[in-house]
Symmetry: C2
Subunit: 527 residues, 2 copies
């Protein structure tokens, strides 16, 4: 692969919003904030970035798989969160790793860990680097820690073995989404896990962060697709048994799923696959308001229908993504199947939705509202790098809550976020909501907010807004994250959400596997 | 409740197999073993049982909720495994608890734990006592341990709160299956979890042991129905947050689901419920052989059909339960639904099954083969107490394995078990197989074996057979248990199946929650 990923911004070098896309986004923000122009700061050129001198260097035995080059170190300095992007704009590379290692095998992973432990240096597992929660920035921890090594898994990028009878494959953790699907396609199989970051994130990263993918119902997270894992820890390799299910004690896999690189690094996984769906049926539906749409989604999922997609967008979200005019809420509904045509299932879902005022968009409209939203959704990550230089604070956060608690949570979070925007920036902003995944007992609401900040204090302003929103989420019974992970950014709320004694148990488990506290210190739990 | 549970055998005092049922079972065994009569030993009367003198007694503050009476101590001496029943026959009450506590609240649970810790005494959580793996027998551990306290949760037996919007309920851990369903029924809701032990097991026990229930596909274990948990540990109470889903670190619930009373005691859980199904459709199907039926089940589940029931029985199993003549394999197929009639789904499943030689039994046959099997299945636990006195060794074990590995596992387990029966007892026996739960990547095979043993050495003979079967399971890639749990009986194989470093992590977590090693020592993990 000759394309290189950007150090500042999303995707590959040379990729960005089109002028038209950027214009549309800016027009929205001009209107929203009531300003004619934005004060735009220049993006620092890669060559102009000054990195701190490396504190440690790799031993000669690891020389061929380690880099101390400026591009590698800069690329691994942080993820793609809002504050990360501000740091990029401000050329703040304080958290740069000293060494980036690119192991090609479990034994090379183990060798890097052994070396890092001997220094000692912290170890940050790195897949695609798409973390939006401060999960991949290197950190030193404690007095003894002398440096930071980032373990980039991207050379472990193959589908290693396929079991077509059981429909599963053993896949290396460093494989990116597109390569994974490409290598499975000749076998007629798919993992069918498509997070927004799909192109720029890896299987190991998905598992480590409990990524949310394609399915809006039933199996929403990557968790259920994991058949077994290989994890390299400082104490050795953990290989769990390939099993369709087990009742033998607490699930070993579930300890590592969501461990965010704190217990070791996920090098391989046997994953459950499906053939490509043979049948698809879908519709875009408009509802008088968001809560009517939410009631319809609840009815759908509680009736036992399990659409692959039943995302709903509030009117503001629909307008911001070009799918609507801001007057109605949108449901993007889709069924996928392997065995039977889905027309009847769709008809039943439409009838249920109609009970809540949902009316189907004319099927011949092209692109449909759903398609418009989908295009905007995929392009969304490219916007941040263009808006931060204009001091625009745009970010998203997500949660899950019971149906009983949903409306109160929505109200409290909306109010807290808007108040915080006004207080932090001195002017009104916007918050919109969609529901991305749904369960019989509750939805996963996904919020986007927009504020006009001020250069020099963007991170502080962002943090004030983020904190207010997070406080409200927590107070209303939500989780601090449904599928974005905890990282360092969510720690204060995660620490309160998680039972103290579970933290004690998790900390003890970490100490058993990583006694030196090398792995991702400060993420999820203190070493 | 005035009915008392039996100390020896299954169910309530006064309940047993009918003479007809017993006759049918014996006729089978006469034919199988080629003997005219069995040497029958008498069952010791409760009054004749001599229990060891209590080593400790409860403090006066706990007097009202504690018992040192003979019935209570005898009842809590073991579970319902094969060796437990032999011990009952032999009046071997060496493992009797000194004190049985019946707390009514979390604070009383905590008080009992504090008292036990102060002695120290081991603590054995006890729900219905239906463990078939040695999970509820009290044990002393280490030199300092001075006694054994059993914590019987049966007074914490209420549905505490219902959230009808989110379709969930907070339910006390000590509630038995029938009371749980009875208390939910007026609200039109059901947990719909029906393990074979339903009548004599509790919600807390189901969660602690990862019980397998009603659904043959999708959500087979209790695990997925747990929304949140309360667990009382020696360090305090762990209360997880009610969430439909979360991506915030490794799941706290999953650490306690399957912890088998080693980390603390599950006192409450918010559980996901459904309304009673409105539609049912099912059929009994006959297949030329078991592997044709297995191929059909695989096709069904991989096609994305999700029958509530698709159990298959090999010809021997079908005959032993009175459902068949031993010439054909049986599939008991059932769909349940809430929103739509299921005739088309059933028709599609029948068509798929026909591809593998499955032919439907005439629907007007009553009772159907499936109904006959179901009756036998529910009555099965009552047989053991009548067969053990005749030195008949009958037991079951279950596993899960990939479809790729299923046939080889079936062959190896069958051979190893039959060989071990012949070697241990000097005469041939029988092994049969059914599949109880199915997954896209593999089935959960459930084996039953029958041998004619000799009084005085029944446990040794049983252990030789069980060990041979377990070795074969493990060697062929299976799990030592799909839903019967680990207990003490499965420890040798569980220890090899589970990654060593996971054991280290689990042990560290246990030490963090139960530093005195009070809870269920020797089950799942050593303290």
């Amino acid at each position: 692969m000759t394309r290189r990923r950007k150090v500042y911004g999303w995707g590959y070098q040379g990729e960005s919003l089109t002028a038209e896309e950027e214009g549309a986004a800016l027009a929205n923000f001009h209107r929203l904030f009531g300003v004619d122009r934005f004060e735009e700061r220049p993006i620092p050129a890669l060559e102009a970035i000054r990195l701190p001198a490396p504190r440690i260097g790799p031993p000669s035995s690891l020389g061929t798989i380690c880099s101390t080059g400026a591009y590698d170190r800069a690329l691994h300095s942080f993820g793609k969160s809002y504050p990360d992007t501000v740091r990029g704009l401000e050329a703040d590379y304080a958290a740069t790793p000293d060494v980036v290692a690119y192991p090609r095998s479990e034994s090379e992973v183990a060798a890097v860990i052994d070396w890092a432990g001997s220094i000692p240096a912290s170890i940050t597992p790195f897949g695609g680097g798409s973390s939006v929660v401060g999960g991949v920035a290197p950190a030193l921890w404690g007095d003894g820690c002398k440096g930071a090594v980032t373990l980039d898994l991207s050379r472990m990028d193959q589908v290693l073995e396929i079991d077509p009878v059981s429909r599963a494959a053993c896949i290396a953790g460093g494989i990116f989404g597109p390569a994974l699907e490409e290598q499975l396609r000749p076998h007629g199989l798919t993992l069918r896990h498509f997070p927004q970051s799909f192109e720029h994130s890896t299987l190991g990263g998905w598992i480590a962060t409990r990524s949310g993918g394609h399915y809006a119902t039933l199996h929403t997270h990557i968790d259920d697709f994991v058949e077994s894992l290989s994890v390299v820890t400082p104490r050795g390799v953990v290989k769990t048994r390939r099993l369709p299910a087990s009742g033998a004690g607490p699930s070993p896999d579930r300890l590592f799923i969501g461990s965010e690189g704190t217990l070791g690094v996920i090098t391989e996984a046997w994953m459950r696959l499906t053939p490509l769906p043979r049948f698809r049926a879908g519709a875009s539906l408009w509802f008088p308001d968001f809560f009517a749409a939410a009631a319809a989604v609840r009815a759908l999922v509680q009736a036992g229908l399990s659409p692959a997609n039943c995302r709903i967008l509030d009117p503001g979200e629909a307008r911001n993504t070009g799918a609507g005019d801001g007057q109605a809420a949108l449901m993007v509904l889709g069924f996928e199947g392997w065995d039977q045509p889905l027309a009847e299932l769709l008809a039943r879902a439409l009838a249920l939705a109609a009970d809540y005022g949902g009316r189907q968009e004319q099927p011949e409209v092209r692109p449909s509202a759903g398609e418009k939203w989908r295009t905007a959704f995929i392009r969304m990550p490219y916007a941040r790098e263009r808006m931060v230089p204009r001091a625009i604070i745009s970010d998203t956060f997500e949660t899950a809550v019971t149906w009983e608690g949903f409306k109160a949570l929505h109200a409290a979070v909306t109010r807290a976020t808007l108040d915080a925007i006004r207080e932090a920036t001195g002017r009104p902003g916007q918050i919109t909501c969609r529901i991305t995944h749904v369960y019989p007992d509750g939805p996963a609401p996904y919020f986007s907010f927009h504020a006009l900040g001020r250069h020099g204090v963007l991170i502080e302003q962002w943090r004030a807004i983020k904190s207010a929103a997070s406080e409200a989420l927590l107070a209303q019974g939500g989780t601090i994250t449904h599928h974005h992970a905890v990282g360092r950014d969510h720690r204060p709320w995660y620490d309160r959400q998680r039972p103290d004694l579970f933290a004690a148990a998790l900390g003890a488990a970490k100490a058993a596997l990583d006694p030196g506290g090398l792995f991702n210190p400060g993420v999820l739990i203190d070493p």
